[in-house]
Amino acid sequence: VTSPQPIEDLLHELAPQVLGALTRRNGRFDACEDAVQEALLAAAVQWPDQGIPENPRGWLITVAGRRLTDELRAETARRRREDTATSLAPLEDLRAPAADLDQPSDQDDTLTLLFLCCHPALSPASQIALTLRAVGGLTTIQIATAFLVPEATMAQRISRAKQSIRTAGAKFSLPPENERAERLRVVLHVLYLIFNEGYTATSGPNLQRTELTGEAIRLARDLRRLLPDDGEVAGLLALMLLTDARRPARSRPDGSLVPLAEQDRGRWHAESIREGVAIVTETLSRSRLGPYQLQAAIAAVHDEAARAEDTDWPQIVALYEMLARIAPNPMVTLNQAVAVAMVHGPQAGLDLLATLDADERMAGHHRLHAVRAHLQEMAGDVAAARASYRTAARGTTSLPEQRYLEGRAARLTGGSDSA
């Protein structure tokens, strides 16, 4: 009996290769994707008992090929029943995989699959679900569990996503050169969203959810292997590693949040920090600057401070200024205000925050009130801080954030909650 973890890892690794090989040959991405999913499920059941086959990739291609043939035969029969007049081309038998199917392709299919699953015709939620299944090799139930929705809902989303890809006329090939940069930006954003879903999950009962960070890091590593010269791919991987490194300290066992300044830095993951810092240092020295690289650089400055009071805030301010220049965004301004306050005092931070009041994207956003509350507290304006914490607490839809914000407000009244 082989232990399940190496089998699962192997299946995740082989999933995009098998799907790529099958789709390259058959062209029907939607049908191939279903067939590969069934083959993965069959392997997950059979391999732990019977052992990993000598050629696991070939095994999966053969099983998926059989499923695909069965499905396409059934489809042809259905169509024939519906319209007997239509003459159909003879169906190619995929039962025995041809030799070329059994060889990894020169150009890695994983990249093509990532572009396809992150097709701009799909909503972010669909892009995420399809990427995790088709490229990540996760099962529908694993994805559904991670996103806290019923399996049937997730299955329907995945099927709709594939339908949208078909409707959009997308082909199993790399996007044209002139679209490549924009399409890559979407792929990076999808990986970032997957990471965030896992990272923001507090240490609750749902472990599958937190495993999304590992999945996102794995996919980002894959992407970096395929595009080693892209600075933003490296930047995103570094950002994930440097953020994930703090995960053991960011929440307590009861799920409550620990702010960065109060985290036990001894619990941070030193190896991830070392790797993230090495990647961001290397890429900043040779690539064109981008938002992920800058965010990774900021995370690196935080991670390299042994104590919160050792944080190099002037360096962080400088990095946020660059980030605000190349990728202006109210969330950037929000974080920039915190850094500015640490260097130039709370009033300077509050002044910067005031520029967001007119911004429709931020109007009434709970994080704006939360940051303002912190800066007001720093400035000694207890009454204003307490009111801002309360406003922020009403605005968030996150239970741990609400609990944290209410706690801060209560602390300012000396624990007695009179207001």
Binding site: Q156, T202, L257
Partner: protein, 120 residues
């Protein structure tokens, strides 16, 4: 990213009972069509219809004693009759989901809290 909402459907029994059969069927048809549409779009998480309000038990603990009374809490004419849990891309979409069944009923849309959070 999609957000989870509940669509709470409040119904006035007297209004419903006064409706002609054909009209009631038409409105129920809209319910069924919406549920089918939401199932197919992958937005529906679950759907529940509630039994008649007369079977409701209301529970309170007062002065250490558990008090159970028959019938719903409060005297409102409109009582909760159905709950849909959906996940969709915006509050605008959630309103669009709830609106078709609000002809005779009152529909309330509430966002759900989640356990995810960002340290500040």
């Amino acid at each position: 990213m999609p957000v989870k909402y509940v669509v709470l459907i409040y119904s006035n029994q007297a209004t419903w009972e006064a409706l002609p059969g054909a009209e009631r069927d038409r409105v129920l048809g809209i319910h069924n069509r919406m549920i089918k549409e939401l199932t197919e779009s992958g937005e529906l998480l679950r759907v529940d219809g509630l039994a008649h309000p007369s079977s409701t038990k209301t529970v309170r603990i007062r002065d250490g004693a558990t008090v159970v009374t028959d019938g719903p809490f409060g005297e409102a004419k409109e009582q909760l009759a159905g709950v849909w849990a959906v996940e969709c891309d915006s509050i605008e979409r959630a309103i669009e989901i709830g609106a078709p069944v609000a002809e005779y009923d009152t529909v309330e849309i509430r966002q759900l809290m989640d356990l995810s959070g960002l340290e500040m």
